[in-house]
């Protein structure tokens, strides 16, 4: 017996040693070098490494309204937004070298920049611009029709009554005109949004279904090309040597998809160059990034508003007094402090700070006052409170879930039994678009810097009030919002927007404005300079990063 055991032990030892040896062999190259040797620790000086929290859906800008990383870096728009040192923004020429607007504000004449080519060498022509807008309107699952509907003939083209977009006239390769069906003050701002990225007619037609899917076939005029896109894993980019503008400092980009804790670890280990704090837990940001990395923080005020929407079609939310009570019952400062460690400011209106038309007159009036809220409720017969539903999108960030739980408790404190109900993302959208969602928490970040982008989207037409599930019923005000788009005098227009804002939030209490956030990024020591996107999006322009 004894000898049997001894021998067998020897055998096992041999097996195990062999196993360990093999294991040792395979890991020994890594043992004395830091992790991620290949690309990470010793990165070439021109590679930028960033992290994304989820994969993109499509590289085709007309098929997504969320994923602007590729459009922003691989494509160009006719105009671009430039943010100045004082925080103001202006619209500057990009692919356009010159333009004129007719007296009546209807016809825009453009001259394209000379010598611009797509990354395969195809020259950019006026035909491409016309093609871009026609495709925007005719693609079955286009996400960007809003950006072309102002053009004359858009509806006819969408409905199939016309073959082409009559509002765009191509004069020659570099000259074209766009005619609008009625004056639209923010048209140029729309032409600066990544949504209106200019595509090549021949490249898109040749690629067919592969456009936006296959990197080699998704080519633009922008500073970078996508070199690979691995689903669920990440994207890589490299500099487009045919780019018409200045050569950027970053020559290659690797964007990896990671969850929050991985990002945190990777940045701390020096394997990431820029980390987006809104993708991390604010407690981590406080304890790690605001202490150890405080000199590396790059902050931008996000031009976006978090809001709680209330549906007027649901009793008793149809009563403005009840809605006012809800506005007063929520402790917004406590939420901002607890969930976002105070990095932001309370908003009392419709337009976030930094947005054109933001008016100090409409701020500072909304105070946390649970007693007042209770009084208001009992004045309209709800001293016993009532039941309501807060809809939660399961895909929403953890922070959002937490905010909603605090709101639920705040409302509970004034006697409103607000039950959080979970919906998966699709059902949530479905319910919201049908106009039947009772109340929900969401965020709107500006696509272009104009009050119209918020107020028209939410309250500008009967359809929009349904799709945003507020069912705002004052038709006179809705008509005024639609009409404001056409006011030619800028001063007059802003005055009108300010008065509309007061009417909506103070008088009618259509929603509970919450806050706008500071968007913090942290850069590694390899990054000399980094300017986030003007509205504080998570997607960044690689060309605005300078490496040491």
């Amino acid at each position: 017996m004894i000898s049997r055991k001894c021998k067998s032990v020897r055998l096992i030892c041999v097996v195990l040693t062999a196993a360990l040896f093999l294991g040792g062999c395979s890991s020994s190259p890594a043992a004395n070098k830091p992790a991620g040797e290949d690309s990470a620790s010793n990165p070439q000086s021109s590679v930028l490494r960033i992290a994304l929290n989820s994969d993109i859906v499509s590289m085709d800008v007309q098929k997504t309204s969320n994923d602007y990383l590729v459009p922003m870096n691989v494509f160009d728009t006719l105009f671009e937004v430039v943010k100045h040192d004082d925080g103001s923004t202006s619209i500057e020429k990009s692919l356009v070298s010159d333009y004129e607007v007719s007296e009546d504000g209807l016809t825009y004449s453009f001259t394209l920049r000379e010598g611009v080519v797509f990354s395969d060498g195809t020259p950019l022509t006026s035909e491409d611009v016309k093609f871009t807008f026609e495709r925007m309107l005719t693609l079955p699952d286009s996400q960007q029709t809003d950006y072309a509907v102002a053009i004359e003939g858009a509806n006819e083209l969408m409905e199939g009554a016309a073959e082409e977009l009559t509002g765009i006239k191509v004069l020659d390769d570099t000259h074209f005109t766009i005619t609008l069906s009625e004056p639209f003050a923010v048209f140029l701002a729309q032409l600066a949004a990544p949504s209106t990225s200019i595509l090549s007619k021949s490249i898109v037609s040749d690629a067919g279904d592969d456009f936006g899917i296959v990197p080699e076939k998704t080519l633009g005029t922008g500073p970078y090309v996508v070199t690979s896109w691995e689903r669920g894993s990440g994207l890589s980019f490299s500099y487009n040597p045919k780019y018409w503008g200045d050569e950027p400092s970053v020559k290659e980009v690797s964007a990896k998809i990671m969850d929050a804790s991985s990002m945190d670890m990777a940045f701390q280990k020096g394997d990431l160059d820029i980390i987006d704090c809104l993708m991390l837990d604010s407690a981590v940001v406080d304890s790690v990034y605001k202490t150890r990395f405080k000199d590396n923080i790059v902050s931008v005020d996000r031009l976006g508003i978090n809001y709680l929407m209330l549906n007027e079609n649901v009793k008793p939310l149809d009563d403005p007094t009840v809605r006012k009570a809800i506005q007063m019952a929520i402790d917004r400062q406590a939420i901002l402090d607890a969930i976002y460690s105070g990095d932001g400011k309370l908003e009392d209106g419709v337009y976030p700070s930094g947005c054109l038309g933001y008016s100090q007159d409409n701020q500072g009036w909304l105070k946390y006052d649970p007693d007042g809220a209770r009084k208001l409720l009992s004045s309209v017969g709800y001293s016993e409170g009532f039941e309501m539903e807060l809809a939660l999108d399961s895909n929403a960030a953890v922070a959002n879930q937490n905010v909603l739980q605090i709101i639920s408790q705040n409302l509970g404190d004034v006697g409103i039994n607000a039950v959080i109900k979970n919906y998966d993302h699709a059902s949530w959208l479905d319910l919201r678009n049908s106009g039947e969602m009772e109340s929900f928490l969401a965020l709107w970040i500006l696509d272009y810097n104009d009050p119209d982008n918020v107020i028209y989207t939410f309250f500008g037409s009967k359809d929009n009030t349904v799709i945003r599930s507020n069912n705002y019923s004052d038709e006179a005000t809705i008509a005024r919002i639609a009409a404001a788009r056409g006011i030619v005098d800028p001063g007059e227009r802003m005055k009108e927007y300010s008065s509309l804002e007061k009417k909506l939030v103070m008088d009618d209490a259509v929603w509970v404005p919450m806050f706008s956030l500071k968007h913090l990024f942290v850069k590694s020591d390899r990054v000399a300079d980094f300017v986030p996107q003007w509205a504080g999006w998570s997607d960044i322009y690689f060309k605005k990063v300078t490496l040491k």
Binding site: A31, S65, M158, R231, S262, M265, H425
Partner: protein, 306 residues
């Protein structure tokens, strides 16, 4: 041969059942996929246009037949969300999952059998207690915890291995260990129990007593007979591993099948989920047949039975 033929026929029937089941399960509640596609910038006309192009307005049996016909030709439809052929998405993702699963199985086997054998040899002694405790720990700890801990230890603390999958072989080590962990535990437990059973068989005792076999030969003999249940279990573990792959892939950023399925659920991409599940069911059924074949070759008893 007839047994094999029957098995294949059975497989076809099972796959058909799988298809019907998924098809029904995914359509009990009619959703509006068009709503997901049109995220923020919605308008009624676009929704209607999209619904029509996706054939969502046809009756269910008709949809099933056309799906079945497509599947036979290798066409699993078009992903709603990614707007690409489901099959091509699956075929790009599968190699990652396959690689991960094979490495994880190798890990589970190496560790599992080694510790199981040691346990059995030292039955009721210290190494046995130690390894039994470890293997119980192995089967009891959730995959996600193993994954997070491995990342913390081997990347963050020791700087030995990459954090997430980056295409290199090294970056596959942690995911393979995380995924193989549970299986290693159960392989160890099974190896121990079935080897102990074999070693107790009278014929081996006799052989040993008569000096016909050396102790090593006894071990090898016993192990070979003990392998049979382990191989059967391997086929069952394939299914468990593909389950675990969902979590492992999502923690380590590997763009495999599991991640694809998770994405399909999160984005309510019915054709993609349907295709992924069908494909994995196919792989598992195939795995079962292979396991059958192996035990058929390995064990004379199984061979003579049919």
């Amino acid at each position: 041969m007839t047994a094999l033929f029957k098995r294949c026929l059975g497989m076809v029937l099972v796959l058909l059942g799988v298809m019907v089941l998924i098809f029904i399960a995914l359509r009990i509640i009619p959703g509006d996929p068009a709503a997901v596609l049109l995220n923020e910038h919605v308008n009624e006309a676009t929704i209607a246009r999209l619904t029509a192009t996706m054939n969502l307005d046809r009756p269910l049996p008709e949809q099933f037949l056309s799906y079945l016909g497509g599947a036979l030709k290798g066409d699993l439809g078009q992903s709603y969300y990614m707007r690409q052929s489901v099959l091509s998405l699956i075929l790009t993702a599968f190699p990652y999952t396959l690689k991960l699963t094979i490495l994880a199985a190798a890990f589970a086997w190496l560790i599992g059998i080694a510790t199981g054998v040691i346990s059995a040899m030292h039955h009721d002694h210290l190494p046995d207690y130690l390894f039994r405790g470890l293997s119980m720990f192995g089967v009891s700890v959730p995959v996600f915890m193993v994954a997070l801990l491995l990342q913390y230890i081997f990347y963050f603390r020791l700087s030995l291995l990459p954090l997430v999958y980056d295409g290199s072989a090294l970056s596959m080590i942690l995911p393979a260990i995380a995924l193989g962990w549970n299986s290693a535990g159960s392989v160890a437990r099974l190896t121990r129990s079935s080897l102990m059973e074999q070693l107790d068989q009278p014929y081996l005792d006799t052989a040993r007593a008569k000096g016909l076999l050396s102790s090593q030969a006894v071990l090898i003999h016993g192990l070979r007979n003990a392998m049979l249940p382990i191989i059967t279990m391997m086929a069952l573990q394939l299914s468990g591993m593909l389950s675990g792959a969902v979590i492992t892939e999502s923690v380590f950023g590997i763009s495999g099948l599991g991640r694809l399925a998770l994405l399909a659920v999160q984005t309510r991409d019915m054709p993609l989920l349907q295709g992924t599940v069908l494909f994995t069911a196919f792989v598992i059924t195939l795995g079962n047949i292979i396991a059958d074949l192996i035990s058929f070759c390995l064990d004379p008893r199984v061979r003579t039975k049919k």
